[in-house]
Symmetry: C2
Subunit: 189 residues, 2 copies
């Protein structure tokens, strides 16, 4: 996706250790027009999957998942990391290590909002090691739903998340693919 690649080239910062700072347009400040285009591009790639729900993880996944769900005209569910008092007592849980926070995160999902019969498109801001997305897949499977696709705004291909998720045998799409962050560079595919 050209507008996204241009934005990464212009504003992305390589902080070292594989950490990409894109918080001027994706995960602290968000450009809503770019995010709308991201959702439309994502929806176009997954249209034939006939998803009934989009699933993401709070926090940074919410914006791209919302615009994808808007384009597909289906609800979006975001897995919670902290349990709100309003959450169903039988919430489903899965854990994933957090790359940017250095600890393990627990993802929780209310069984009210995902179940057998649901065809789930997983959307997240990053596909890196694949562990957060792996936890979302687990949540969907525990709910009895079927994962039909996985989409990331930005893939860090050198972290092998795509290989990690290949056994699921579902389409995996990324709108921007970074092949290397060695030597302080950001190399886009």
């Amino acid at each position: 996706m050209r507008a996204l690649n241009e934005r990464i080239r212009r504003e992305g910062k390589n902080l070292g250790r594989g950490i990409l700072k894109v918080d001027s347009f994706i995960n602290h400040q968000v450009d809503p027009m770019l995010m709308l285009s991201v959702g439309q591009a994502m929806a176009a790639r997954f249209y034939s999957c006939e998803a009934t729900k989009v699933l993401t993880a709070e926090i940074s996944g919410i914006a791209p998942a919302l615009t994808t769900a808007l384009a597909l005209q289906v609800p979006v569910v975001y897995a919670r990391k902290t349990r709100p008092v309003t959450m169903h007592p039988n919430a489903i849980e899965a854990t994933a290590p957090s790359h940017t926070k250095g600890s393990e995160v627990k993802l929780m999902l209310s069984p009210e909002f995902l179940g057998p019969g649901d065809r789930v498109l997983i959307i997240d801001d990053f596909l890196a090691s694949g562990q957060t997305i792996g936890a979302l897949v687990k949540l969907a499977q525990l709910a009895g739903a079927t994962v039909v696709g996985i989409g990331a705004v930005i893939e860090k291909a050198f972290e092998q998340g795509r290989e990690e998720l290949a056994h699921l045998n579902v389409p995996i799409e990324a709108l921007a693919v970074i092949t290397s962050m060695d030597d302080g560079k950001i190399v886009l595919e």
Copy 2:
């Protein structure tokens, strides 16, 4: 906003102690079409404020803030509750008690994304006691920006947040106003 009121009547649950469960369409599962209408309705009410940025707090504020920012064609910034490794070291901080989590939350904002000259429209899912929104106001002020309006998707009028924020002398709008949750009811204005 009629579609929102109808949705609250149909799906909202009064859990007692002033806690309203609307997680089937606002803060766990999100209806993107309703959220787009919410953003458009919000933008219409604040159009004349000439906001340069929309500011919200993660997590539940992100969806309505994003669609409002989309309608106003300005960036949205969400204050973070946990510090990502990508955050600017001189982040501005303010604290607010969390009604639904029972503890105090710290909101952090990078000075890169809000500053003098910015006209800030604050958007959140709820206006209850006004304390989270009060913390967002403080963040904006610490950044040197001017708050030009405050919008909430749902106001719990009986918690007096509007009175709490009145001294700011800016327009405060809510798309749905709940006047009472006594006796297990949800009374809409």
